[in-house]
Symmetry: C2
Subunit: 129 residues, 2 copies
Protein backbone atom coordinates (compact mmCIF):
# COMPACT_ATOMS: atom_id res chain seq x y z
CA UNK A 1 0.00 0.00 0.00
CA UNK A 2 1.27 3.43 -0.90
CA UNK A 3 2.45 5.45 2.04
CA UNK A 4 1.48 8.72 0.39
CA UNK A 5 -1.81 9.70 1.82
CA UNK A 6 -2.70 12.94 0.11
CA UNK A 7 -2.79 14.71 3.42
CA UNK A 8 -5.81 16.87 3.98
CA UNK A 9 -4.80 20.52 3.98
CA UNK A 10 -5.48 22.54 7.10
CA UNK A 11 -7.47 25.72 6.97
CA UNK A 12 -4.44 27.94 6.53
CA UNK A 13 -2.94 25.66 3.96
CA UNK A 14 -6.14 25.71 1.99
CA UNK A 15 -6.02 29.47 1.70
CA UNK A 16 -2.61 29.20 0.14
CA UNK A 17 -3.64 26.38 -2.16
CA UNK A 18 -6.48 28.49 -3.46
CA UNK A 19 -4.04 31.17 -4.49
CA UNK A 20 -1.78 28.64 -6.17
CA UNK A 21 -4.71 27.11 -8.00
CA UNK A 22 -5.77 30.49 -9.28
CA UNK A 23 -2.40 31.94 -10.14
CA UNK A 24 -0.46 28.83 -10.96
CA UNK A 25 3.15 28.49 -9.78
CA UNK A 26 4.00 31.45 -7.58
CA UNK A 27 6.65 32.85 -5.32
CA UNK A 28 6.12 33.45 -1.64
CA UNK A 29 5.81 37.14 -2.28
CA UNK A 30 3.12 36.69 -4.87
CA UNK A 31 1.09 34.47 -2.60
CA UNK A 32 1.60 36.81 0.29
CA UNK A 33 0.53 39.88 -1.65
CA UNK A 34 -2.76 38.23 -2.53
CA UNK A 35 -3.42 36.94 0.96
CA UNK A 36 -2.44 40.18 2.64
CA UNK A 37 -5.16 42.04 0.78
CA UNK A 38 -7.91 40.39 2.74
CA UNK A 39 -6.08 39.33 5.85
CA UNK A 40 -3.22 40.54 7.92
CA UNK A 41 -0.62 37.85 7.52
CA UNK A 42 3.15 38.24 7.74
CA UNK A 43 5.44 37.34 4.91
CA UNK A 44 7.34 34.80 6.95
CA UNK A 45 4.11 33.18 8.00
CA UNK A 46 3.29 32.42 4.39
CA UNK A 47 6.84 31.28 3.81
CA UNK A 48 6.77 28.94 6.77
CA UNK A 49 3.44 27.49 5.74
CA UNK A 50 4.73 26.84 2.25
CA UNK A 51 7.82 25.18 3.67
CA UNK A 52 5.68 22.92 5.81
CA UNK A 53 3.42 22.19 2.88
CA UNK A 54 6.49 21.17 0.92
CA UNK A 55 7.50 18.63 3.52
CA UNK A 56 3.94 17.34 3.61
CA UNK A 57 3.91 16.97 -0.13
CA UNK A 58 1.07 19.41 -0.70
CA UNK A 59 3.21 21.62 -2.93
CA UNK A 60 6.39 21.26 -4.91
CA UNK A 61 9.16 23.82 -4.98
CA UNK A 62 11.35 24.96 -7.81
CA UNK A 63 14.55 26.40 -6.39
CA UNK A 64 16.20 27.46 -9.60
CA UNK A 65 15.51 31.10 -9.14
CA UNK A 66 16.50 32.90 -6.00
CA UNK A 67 12.85 33.35 -5.11
CA UNK A 68 11.60 29.79 -5.01
CA UNK A 69 8.51 29.02 -7.03
CA UNK A 70 5.82 26.92 -5.38
CA UNK A 71 3.18 24.91 -7.14
CA UNK A 72 0.26 22.85 -5.90
CA UNK A 73 1.25 19.22 -6.22
CA UNK A 74 -2.22 17.87 -6.77
CA UNK A 75 -4.53 19.42 -9.32
CA UNK A 76 -7.24 21.56 -7.78
CA UNK A 77 -9.86 19.12 -9.00
CA UNK A 78 -8.39 16.26 -7.07
CA UNK A 79 -8.11 18.10 -3.79
CA UNK A 80 -11.58 19.53 -4.14
CA UNK A 81 -12.94 16.09 -4.84
CA UNK A 82 -11.17 14.83 -1.76
CA UNK A 83 -12.62 17.55 0.44
CA UNK A 84 -16.12 17.19 -0.93
CA UNK A 85 -15.94 13.42 -0.58
CA UNK A 86 -14.70 13.73 2.95
CA UNK A 87 -17.60 15.90 4.00
CA UNK A 88 -20.00 13.65 2.12
CA UNK A 89 -18.87 10.65 4.12
CA UNK A 90 -18.29 12.21 7.50
CA UNK A 91 -21.41 14.30 7.74
CA UNK A 92 -23.88 13.03 5.20
CA UNK A 93 -23.18 9.32 5.33
CA UNK A 94 -22.54 9.24 1.61
CA UNK A 95 -25.88 10.70 0.62
CA UNK A 96 -25.30 13.21 -2.15
CA UNK A 97 -28.88 14.42 -2.02
CA UNK A 98 -28.51 15.19 1.66
CA UNK A 99 -25.37 17.13 0.97
CA UNK A 100 -26.96 19.13 -1.77
CA UNK A 101 -30.07 19.85 0.21
CA UNK A 102 -28.02 21.36 3.00
CA UNK A 103 -25.73 23.23 0.68
CA UNK A 104 -28.66 24.78 -1.12
CA UNK A 105 -30.54 25.68 2.01
CA UNK A 106 -27.61 27.63 3.35
CA UNK A 107 -27.21 29.84 0.34
CA UNK A 108 -29.26 30.82 -2.65
CA UNK A 109 -28.19 29.03 -5.77
CA UNK A 110 -28.35 31.08 -8.91
CA UNK A 111 -30.70 29.91 -11.66
CA UNK A 112 -27.70 29.17 -13.79
CA UNK A 113 -26.33 27.05 -10.99
CA UNK A 114 -29.58 25.09 -10.91
CA UNK A 115 -29.41 24.66 -14.63
CA UNK A 116 -25.87 23.42 -14.32
CA UNK A 117 -26.89 20.94 -11.65
CA UNK A 118 -29.58 19.50 -13.90
CA UNK A 119 -27.10 19.14 -16.68
CA UNK A 120 -24.72 17.38 -14.32
CA UNK A 121 -27.34 14.90 -13.29
CA UNK A 122 -28.18 14.06 -16.89
CA UNK A 123 -24.56 13.63 -17.69
CA UNK A 124 -23.87 11.58 -14.63
CA UNK A 125 -26.78 9.28 -15.27
CA UNK A 126 -25.74 8.87 -18.86
CA UNK A 127 -22.23 7.93 -17.92
CA UNK A 128 -23.25 5.10 -15.62
CA UNK A 129 -26.12 3.71 -17.68
Amino acid sequence: MAAHDDPKPTSGELEILRVLWERGPSTVREVHDILAEAKQMGYTTVLKLLQIMTTKGLVTRNEEARAHVYEAKQPAEKTKRQLAGDLLQKVFAGSASQLMMHALSGKKASPSDIEELRRLLDEYEGSTK
Copy 2:
Protein backbone atom coordinates in the same frame (compact mmCIF):
# COMPACT_ATOMS: atom_id res chain seq x y z
CA MET B 1 -23.00 41.79 19.56
CA ALA B 2 -23.79 38.19 20.29
CA ALA B 3 -20.84 36.25 21.59
CA HIS B 4 -22.32 32.92 20.57
CA ASP B 5 -20.71 31.91 17.37
CA ASP B 6 -21.96 28.42 16.72
CA PRO B 7 -18.43 27.12 16.91
CA LYS B 8 -17.49 24.69 14.20
CA PRO B 9 -17.02 21.21 15.66
CA THR B 10 -13.65 19.58 15.28
CA SER B 11 -13.26 16.18 13.74
CA GLY B 12 -13.47 14.35 17.04
CA GLU B 13 -16.39 16.42 18.20
CA LEU B 14 -18.23 15.67 15.01
CA GLU B 15 -18.00 11.96 15.65
CA ILE B 16 -19.70 12.45 18.97
CA LEU B 17 -22.32 14.76 17.55
CA ARG B 18 -23.24 12.13 15.01
CA VAL B 19 -23.96 9.69 17.79
CA LEU B 20 -26.04 12.23 19.67
CA TRP B 21 -27.98 13.09 16.54
CA GLU B 22 -28.75 9.47 15.94
CA ARG B 23 -29.50 8.35 19.46
CA GLY B 24 -30.79 11.53 20.97
CA PRO B 25 -29.76 12.51 24.52
CA SER B 26 -27.20 10.03 25.78
CA THR B 27 -24.82 9.35 28.61
CA VAL B 28 -21.09 9.21 28.18
CA ARG B 29 -21.18 5.45 28.39
CA GLU B 30 -23.76 5.16 25.66
CA VAL B 31 -21.78 7.39 23.35
CA HIS B 32 -18.60 5.57 24.17
CA ASP B 33 -20.06 2.15 23.52
CA ILE B 34 -21.09 3.20 20.02
CA LEU B 35 -17.80 4.88 19.22
CA ALA B 36 -15.71 2.07 20.62
CA GLU B 37 -17.21 -0.39 18.18
CA ALA B 38 -15.47 1.15 15.23
CA LYS B 39 -12.59 2.86 16.90
CA GLN B 40 -10.43 2.38 19.90
CA MET B 41 -11.27 5.30 22.13
CA GLY B 42 -11.06 5.45 25.88
CA TYR B 43 -14.05 6.23 28.03
CA THR B 44 -12.42 9.25 29.59
CA THR B 45 -11.53 10.57 26.18
CA VAL B 46 -15.19 10.70 25.26
CA LEU B 47 -16.00 12.21 28.64
CA LYS B 48 -13.40 14.91 28.26
CA LEU B 49 -14.55 15.73 24.77
CA LEU B 50 -18.13 16.05 25.95
CA GLN B 51 -17.04 18.30 28.80
CA ILE B 52 -15.18 20.52 26.37
CA MET B 53 -18.12 20.53 24.02
CA THR B 54 -20.29 21.66 26.91
CA THR B 55 -18.10 24.66 27.58
CA LYS B 56 -18.07 25.45 23.88
CA GLY B 57 -21.83 25.29 23.75
CA LEU B 58 -21.98 22.44 21.28
CA VAL B 59 -23.95 20.24 23.67
CA THR B 60 -26.06 20.72 26.77
CA ARG B 61 -25.84 18.59 29.85
CA ASN B 62 -28.55 17.33 32.17
CA GLU B 63 -27.00 16.56 35.54
CA GLU B 64 -30.07 15.25 37.30
CA ALA B 65 -29.05 11.64 37.13
CA ARG B 66 -25.72 10.47 38.39
CA ALA B 67 -24.69 9.68 34.83
CA HIS B 68 -25.08 13.03 33.09
CA VAL B 69 -27.09 13.09 29.91
CA TYR B 70 -25.71 15.04 26.98
CA GLU B 71 -27.65 16.40 24.06
CA ALA B 72 -26.62 18.21 20.90
CA LYS B 73 -27.48 21.85 21.35
CA GLN B 74 -28.06 22.63 17.70
CA PRO B 75 -30.30 20.46 15.57
CA ALA B 76 -28.40 18.22 13.21
CA GLU B 77 -29.82 20.09 10.25
CA LYS B 78 -28.37 23.36 11.35
CA THR B 79 -24.89 22.06 11.94
CA LYS B 80 -24.89 20.13 8.70
CA ARG B 81 -25.98 23.21 6.84
CA GLN B 82 -23.20 25.13 8.51
CA LEU B 83 -20.59 22.59 7.51
CA ALA B 84 -21.83 22.29 3.95
CA GLY B 85 -22.01 26.06 3.63
CA ASP B 86 -18.53 26.43 5.00
CA LEU B 87 -17.01 24.09 2.44
CA LEU B 88 -19.13 25.64 -0.28
CA GLN B 89 -17.66 29.05 0.41
CA LYS B 90 -14.11 28.11 1.25
CA VAL B 91 -13.45 25.70 -1.57
CA PHE B 92 -16.11 26.16 -4.21
CA ALA B 93 -16.59 29.91 -4.12
CA GLY B 94 -20.29 29.47 -3.44
CA SER B 95 -20.99 27.37 -6.51
CA ALA B 96 -23.31 24.54 -5.51
CA SER B 97 -22.94 22.86 -8.88
CA GLN B 98 -19.17 22.78 -8.44
CA LEU B 99 -19.57 21.23 -5.02
CA MET B 100 -21.94 18.58 -6.31
CA MET B 101 -19.82 17.81 -9.29
CA HIS B 102 -16.85 17.05 -7.10
CA ALA B 103 -18.86 15.15 -4.56
CA LEU B 104 -20.42 12.98 -7.23
CA SER B 105 -17.17 12.32 -9.04
CA GLY B 106 -15.64 10.96 -5.88
CA LYS B 107 -18.34 8.43 -5.15
CA LYS B 108 -21.06 6.67 -7.03
CA ALA B 109 -24.48 8.03 -6.32
CA SER B 110 -27.24 5.50 -6.26
CA PRO B 111 -30.02 5.84 -8.83
CA SER B 112 -32.42 6.65 -6.05
CA ASP B 113 -30.07 9.36 -4.91
CA ILE B 114 -30.09 10.81 -8.41
CA GLU B 115 -33.84 10.68 -8.43
CA GLU B 116 -33.91 12.47 -5.13
CA LEU B 117 -31.55 15.11 -6.41
CA ARG B 118 -33.85 15.84 -9.35
CA ARG B 119 -36.80 16.12 -7.05
CA LEU B 120 -34.90 18.52 -4.82
CA LEU B 121 -34.01 20.73 -7.74
CA ASP B 122 -37.62 20.94 -8.84
CA GLU B 123 -38.68 21.74 -5.33
CA TYR B 124 -35.99 24.31 -4.85
CA GLU B 125 -36.79 26.04 -8.10
CA GLY B 126 -40.45 26.06 -7.27
CA SER B 127 -39.84 27.64 -3.89
CA THR B 128 -37.91 30.58 -5.27
CA LYS B 129 -40.00 31.25 -8.35
